[in-house]
């Protein structure tokens, strides 16, 4: 008789019995993490190229002055980046966005060695805006924010300039240019998306 047939079968006690519960739990978890992206992919909406997503930060940096300056803001969600359509984590020189239906346009850049927000706005506005007053704006960002607005050309819409500045010895400012082509608001009001952008603005130097 072969040796192995003479041996009693090895007893399978509780500790050697196959444990199927952990096995199936592992399979279920694997299936979950694989199936979720599949489902998301099926339900994913179409998205315009260059559209700004949620919590996308735009950064600026300028090391040319006596003190380096950094600044940034959260880009308006749903607006479209004009120019370079790819979001970048690197600092940029200028950022430009257009609203989803092209009714408004926003541009931003960092200015350093600024004397005052009012002077920056005057220097940046066209000559025809000399009569327009520079007004303070409570942006809720803890920084000094002033703006000027004007409507100089028929059909060109209202243009607003915002200067968001820190209060250090060498003042640096984020200069925002907003053009509201459809004139959906009256003088003195700010587009909600623009107000949200101003609220997130940061300037350090």
């Amino acid at each position: 008789m072969p040796a192995r047939l003479a041996e009693p079968p090895a007893a399978m006690d509780g500790v050697t019995q196959p444990r199927w519960a952990p096995f199936f739990l592992c399979l279920a978890l694997l299936a979950l993490i694989v199936s979720v992206p599949v489902a998301l992919g099926i339900a994913a909406p179409a998205r315009a190229e260059g559209a700004v997503g949620v919590y996308e930060r735009v950064k600026f940096s300028d090391e040319s002055g006596a003190r380096p300056a950094i600044a940034g803001f959260i880009a308006p969600e749903g607006w479209l980046r004009t120019g370079d359509t790819e979001a970048s984590e690197d600092p940029v020189e200028q950022a430009e966005f257009a609203s989803p239906h092209d009714e408004a346009w926003l541009a931003a850049e960092l200015r350093t060695a600024v004397d005052s927000p009012a002077r920056l706005l005057r220097e940046s506005a066209p000559l025809g805006a000399l009569a327009s007053p520079v007004k303070p704006f409570d942006a809720g960002n803890g920084l000094e924010t002033r703006f000027i607005e004007y409507d100089l050309e028929a059909g060109a819409g209202v243009e607003q300039l915002f200067a968001v500045c820190n209060t250090s010895a060498e003042m640096s400012c984020l200069l925002f240019t907003v053009n509201d082509f459809d004139r959906v608001h009256t003088f003195g009001t700010v587009l909600p998306d623009v107000a949200a952008v101003l609220k997130t603005a940061e300037v350090f130097s």
């Binding site: 096995f23 694989v34 998301l40 998205r47 950064k59």
Partner: protein
């Protein structure tokens, strides 16, 4: 780390070829990785074999040059030594099977990395269509990576449960799964540099910032998982519900760690990372203390419920 000789199943035959008495032919329990009767072993093997091959090939191909490859390996080697020292400190004189230790490392460093990398890439593209690009890492990484490491810890602890488990077993194997993941992830980041300089800077930064985070998180989850399995072994109520927060809390810490910058002022971001690291360390130390107490209680129990440290595996 402590190493133990493997115990293998065998039958004994005398020199005459006749069989020895049945009491000497009873197979001895094998608390090792290669428990062929356990389905989770085959799950491990199914993924581990191709994952190891894939990881080796990809690591070699990813290196820009031989010097960068050597530098990256050295940096990861330094981290591996530090992790080994941590393991020696927390485990003290307890011994665990080498195969399970290596099995945990392989799952974390090859399987979890490979699958998580693939899924994260897919999710990045999908989240982009929802406008969630900037939050892609925050959403995808904790879900995919933490669940994959949880699976690996569950597999290893299931195999280790051939003997009575302790909470420290969960800390040990969970830490190893996370350590394997972190070592290979850091190697991948270091190798992604364009030249030796970027390889060194990336490698050093990842060595310093968030050192062993994945290991710390998975060790915490592993402790609770082992606790629940231990209670099942002791025929007490399992308290499986504890696994849910044990998995979700590290996932939340992971998500917070991967958040996009809250400010352009990087010092604020570093402060947040520091707070998260302190919280992680606190959870890990709590798990280690719990593990040591559990091991001490286990050692004081009657015969038949002895801890793995006394089994002479």
């Amino acid at each position: 780390m402590s190493q133990t000789p493997e115990m293998t199943q065998h039958t004994m035959q005398g020199s005459s070829g006749l069989h020895t008495p049945a009491t000497n032919r009873r197979p001895r329990p094998t608390p090792a990785l290669f428990q062929l009767r356990q389905p989770v072993f085959w799950l491990w093997a199914l993924f581990a074999v191709p994952a190891v091959i894939f990881t080796i090939v990809e690591s070699v191909m990813q290196a820009s040059d031989l010097t960068s490859l050597i530098a990256a390996v050295v940096l990861v080697g330094v981290q591996a030594v530090l992790i080994w020292l941590i393991l020696r400190a927390i485990a003290r004189k307890q011994k665990r099977p080498v195969s399970l230790t290596l099995g945990a490392l392989v799952w974390g460093g090859a399987v979890a990395i490979m699958i998580a990398g693939l899924l994260n890439s897919i999710n990045m593209g999908l989240l982009n269509r929802y406008g969630l690009d900037s939050l892609a890492a925050t959403i995808s990484a904790p879900i995919n990576e933490d669940i994959l490491r949880f699976i690996g810890t569950l597999i290893i602890l299931t195999l280790a449960a051939r003997k009575p488990l302790t909470v420290m077993d969960g800390v040990w194997y969970g830490f190893l799964v996370g350590a394997g993941f972190e070592l290979l992830e850091n190697l991948s980041y270091a190798l992604s540099g364009e030249d030796l300089s970027s390889t060194l800077s990336t490698g050093i930064m990842r060595l310093i910032v968030g050192f062993a985070l994945h290991a710390l998180w998975t060790a915490t989850t592993g402790a609770v998982l082992a606790y629940c399995i231990m209670r099942v072994q002791q025929k007490r109520s399992s308290r499986w519900y504890l696994v849910v927060p044990a998995l979700l809390i590290p996932m939340a810490l992971h998500a917070a760690w991967d958040l996009p910058s809250l400010s352009v002022f990087e010092a604020l971001q570093l402060l947040l990372l520091l707070v998260l690291y302190v919280l992680t360390l606190a959870a890990f130390f709590a798990a280690v203390i719990w593990g040591r107490r559990s091991s001490g209680l286990q050692a004081g129990q009657p015969t038949g419920q002895a801890s793995s440290s006394q089994s002479g595996e």
